[in-house]
Symmetry: C2
Subunit: 638 residues, 2 copies
């Protein structure tokens, strides 16, 4: 620690050369410690503390050290200066101090009550990130990875339930937490606490929306390791992924609603505007994210250069995020759907080498970003300077979070079970209830703006709830699984086949099946399989067979030569067809001869296309290349 002290005192003389190096070194050190701990735990099959919990713990200890060991040499920084000539805050301020001009960069506005805390430790200030780092740098890889690694088939099998939990559930959770907290706040004001500042209902709703973002990363890691029942895994994973997106947009919409005239009365116009905002931002981000995935990898034959392909893939995914942000939408939502779409379409166009590279790259970025955030959470408990601990509020929030989770899971599961063939059993519901951990997103949303006192109190509370849930519930996952007698050691693919078989056997009475939401997905899948997949990837049936005859010239141009051979391999679709309807099979088998007939005709078309593209000097071995690109599609991302 002597080095730290020394660093702080010499910083002025040549801070040029090691700006920020010590702070980053501290993070590196914490991450290295975390990695070694994870290794030790994994070796001992010790599952009570997940890596994120460990990272948080180390962060906590380091925060304690920084807070109480380093001293504050920066005496001057608490003073507020007056500049009567300045009428508004420019983004860059040039100031003349004893005949030297200094450039200052605008950072933020500070409430008067926070000014005093600025007299604090310079080291603490340095360890405090700009909150936008979370949203622009750390969250995107985590969210993208979640979308990219979604187990598609299991996900689509449970899509209805997942959407219900994610959209309805998050809304319920947000409102329930908001109401309970509003009651608590009123009661606290009544008994004399919390009188000095106003705490509006919109603040409570804001808190509700940010606390509704669940992050069961700990639980999912254990599920993955133990091979817990796939349906449970998918429900939980799907819910948590989509729920983040919903919570982020919800928080944004509520924060837009906030600054109205009288925040305690209900303003219908403003409310509908917020709902409209929510829908607009969500849909816009969804559209932008998906559209970025649909990119050039099909017609540029980048497969020969996996590095370029990986680079393009990475840059386009990041562009989806940045474009959404630049357009005033939500980048996180865009990057999530970009990940899902990339996995669904673009992934199939990649060369085997790039498939592996991209997966490893995003896995690695996800790993680093996640551990940095959890380390930072640990640090923040001691290094953040404007904590407001209010035990009553924290207790109320804990109660609210559990009640909200319960009123999300149990009623929705009951309703879903009315419609589901494969019911969600009681013990799954308990496990989902138990897995309502809060994590990175809740923290990032809370730290985004901590200027007012209610915001600071909410931040402190959110942080403590994250700690509590990650350590207590994360640690209790394995005992809970045993106690609830949830089966482990399931092979996902076997499980799926078994379930599909049992389902299609019971489907012989066809009429009941149609009542389910399957028709919607059948339409979507048909469209996707027949038009989108062949258009965007090298797989699927040739467009020449799916499009009407008069489209043939265009269809030939757009269909990849390898598609003609691949159409029977596309087991995604085969599976969906098997699973949904037996009648569909007849249709699809009626459809195979058509394309087989057509394929002789279209091979000539392919030859023609080869000649055209031979201009690029690739005609010779293009066909072979594409074949190798098409092959690993069998064991694709699923």
């Amino acid at each position: 620690m002597d080095k730290l002290k020394n660093y702080v005192s010499v910083k002025d003389e040549d801070h040029f050369y090691h700006q920020g190096a010590v702070e980053l070194l501290i993070f590196n050190f914490l991450l290295i410690l975390t990695i070694l701990t994870i290794w030790l735990f994994k070796n001992h099959r010790f599952r009570f503390l997940h890596e994120t919990g460990g990272a948080m713990l180390y962060g906590l200890v380091m925060g304690l050290i920084i807070r109480y060991v380093t001293k504050s040499p920066d005496v001057e920084s608490g003073t507020v200066y007056e500049c009567e000539k300045l009428k508004s805050g420019p983004s860059t301020l040039l100031i003349n101090i004893t005949n030297q001009v200094y450039e200052y960069q605008y950072k933020r506005e500070i409430s008067h009550h926070n000014v005093n805390s600025h007299q604090g430790n310079a080291m603490l200030q340095k360890m405090t990130f700009d909150p936008s780092i979370f949203f622009n740098i750390l969250l995107p890889p985590i969210i993208f990875h979640a979308g990219y690694s979604l187990k598609k088939r299991h996900f689509f099998r449970n899509l209805g339930s997942i959407l219900a939990y994610a959209f309805l559930g998050t809304a319920i959770s947000c409102i329930v937490i908001g109401l309970i907290m509003y009651g608590f706040v009123k009661a606290m004001v009544h008994i004399g606490q919390l009188k000095q500042w106003e705490f509006h209902f919109t603040d409570c709703l804001f808190f509700g929306s940010l606390m509704s973002a669940t992050d069961p990363v700990t639980v999912l890691a254990i599920f993955h390791e133990l091979n817990v029942d796939t349906d449970l895994y998918t429900l939980l994973f799907g819910e948590s992924v989509l729920n983040d997106a919903v919570a982020i947009v919800l928080t944004h919409s509520i924060s837009i609603y906030s600054p109205k005239e009288n925040p305690n009365t209900f303003d219908a116009a403003a409310f509908f505007q917020s709902v409209g905002n929510f829908l607009g931002i969500f849909a816009g981000s969804f559209a932008m994210g998906s559209s970025y995935a649909v990119h050039l990898t099909k017609f540029t034959k980048l497969c020969e250069f996996p590095m370029l392909e990986t680079g393009l893939f990475f840059l386009l995914s990041w562009s989806a995020f940045l474009s959404a942000e630049a357009a005033g939408l939500t980048g996180i939502v865009a990057v999530l759907f970009c990940g899902v779409t990339q996995a669904h379409y673009t992934y199939n166009n990649l060369s085997p080498d790039s498939k592996m590279r991209t997966k490893q790259l995003f896995e690695f970025m996800n790993f680093l970003a996640e551990n940095v955030i959890f380390c930072y959470m640990g640090l923040a408990l001691f290094t953040f300077q404007n904590h407001i601990f209010n035990p009553l509020f924290i207790f109320g929030a804990l109660v609210a979070v559990f009640v909200a989770r319960a009123s999300n899971i149990y009623p929705l599961s009951f309703l879903l079970n009315l419609g589901r063939k494969q019911k969600i059993p009681r013990n799954f519901q308990h496990m989902m209830m138990f897995s309502g951990l809060r994590g990175a997103i809740a923290f990032a949303l809370a730290i985004r703006d901590t200027n007012s006192q209610p915001q600071q109190m909410m931040f402190t509370t959110a942080l403590l709830i994250v700690f509590f849930t990650v350590w207590v519930f994360g640690g209790g996952t394995t005992p809970m699984l045993t106690w609830l007698q949830i089966r482990v050691g399931v092979d996902p693919d076997e499980d799926l086949k078994a379930k599909a078989a049992s389902q299609s056997a019971s489907n012989l009475d066809k009429n009941t099946t149609k009542a389910e939401s399957a028709w919607l997905f059948r339409i979507w899948y048909g469209f996707d399989h027949r038009y989108l997949k062949p258009l965007l990837t090298h797989t699927g049936p040739p467009l020449t067979s799916t499009l009407p005859e008069w489209c043939n010239p265009v269809a030939r141009l757009l269909t990849s030569p390898s598609a003609y051979g691949d159409q029977l391999k596309d087991d995604d679709t085969v599976y969906i067809i098997n699973n949904d309807e037996l009648t569909e099979n007849c249709e699809s088998s009626a459809h195979v001869p058509v394309s087989a007939q057509d394929s002789t005709g279209s091979i000539q078309a392919t030859g023609k296309e080869d000649i055209q593209e031979g201009d690029l000097g690739l005609g010779g071995y293009k066909l072979q290349l594409q074949h190798s690109a098409g092959q690993p599609q069998k064991n694709s991302l699923a």
Copy 2:
């Protein structure tokens, strides 16, 4: 471009949500364009424009657009305010503007003559990075990758020459450029130009040192693609890698020397202090970088978790950089030697999966960072606001750079050829002369501090020289290779063996060989092979056979079980022995039976160690794992 304008004008109302998104999007867009262009060029086997040249070109066009299409809404930013209460510039400034407290962050000191340029375009300001981003974020991966991908065997074969070019050559180049520029500046002052500010000899030397960092990335990429003669490749690559480190430390030493009383007189004490600084910083950074490489991968069996292993590897390499920076040394030099050492020792301990992951990760980071820098260079020509174009100075600098390169390569090659068995032929010398491109390092060193007018002029000049050399010499590489009749299509391994064979055949008259510097490397190699490799990796002969007998207990503990089987495979050493001396072979064959004798005894020791380490639950399959980790060592990084 409408979007850009729009963005700038709305930034105040919710800049919170898309801070920097547009700027990053521009870079993403440029990089995507670059990738597509590279792909097109590679497909056409078009080698006149390398990707870095392309990136620069796109950057240039984008810079032009930003400069002349976007408008400046930020009128206020050119005004300098007075605050009589402020006596020194605090790092965080709190300012009260119309009863709101704003926080401002210290950015830098500005010379009075630069204040006016701050009235410029806000978009231009946004597109200007903080120079420390180059040193802390973009350069480390490039330099690390260079160190990590050094072809070890060829490198060590030519180590003497490479060191001579890198250390002596860079010093010569620095002094020559400094002298020529000083002459030019004096002449310019004489004829009436350049009278308004002082231009000291140290400034000229500073310019010389930064212009001495060569970066033949374009040339090397072409060499690699065409499989140019390995010795030439290694000489050039080795020189450019080490030369960067030398130039960076040299620039730092000179900038420390600068602020003495009278900068035009020679101050012996200050000079020796600078030399001492150079040596100290270089040695310190070297030591710190190498020590970080020697890490825990040998005894923690992380091989089962390639993700953790990759993470640890990445974090430790970055820590080498950060620690050096925090200790006031040069992080870039530390990270370079960390890369070299990691490749030499740690790489052997990694699991095959991690070997590939780390290589791909660093390759990817190198690719991105390099293209970002070259894009930025293109942009900077139009977006940087304090350019000082002085045609005479630029012309002088161009002349100086070529004269300096010539007085580096030709005299040194002549001297080296006196000692080398394998002479450096005339056409190689011409090619090396021709390959003196300037690139990322020169640019980063020049942009580091652009506050004074001489620095601005040097920056502008350096930038233009980078453009000129990358486009003209980079583009001319292939014709030059043909013209100089340098052979291409060489298989590196075959080449090495052929050369070694011809050399050892001519070595039968032993006495002449000893005159070469080989004895130094024989000692080093012996030490490395017998002690360091077995200590730090799972390869090499067991320590039990190389250490004296009384060390056996310690030796057994430190030797990896797989070392006993591997000792004959270590072809690095076998090669060096073959290459240097035939007598050495006798010694080494005398040494094999000893260890073979010993191995029966040490297998028992191995069994014991297994039991001890069985506590970690790994005893069962550790040996097998290590075998598979040891196997790919044959075709290791070379």
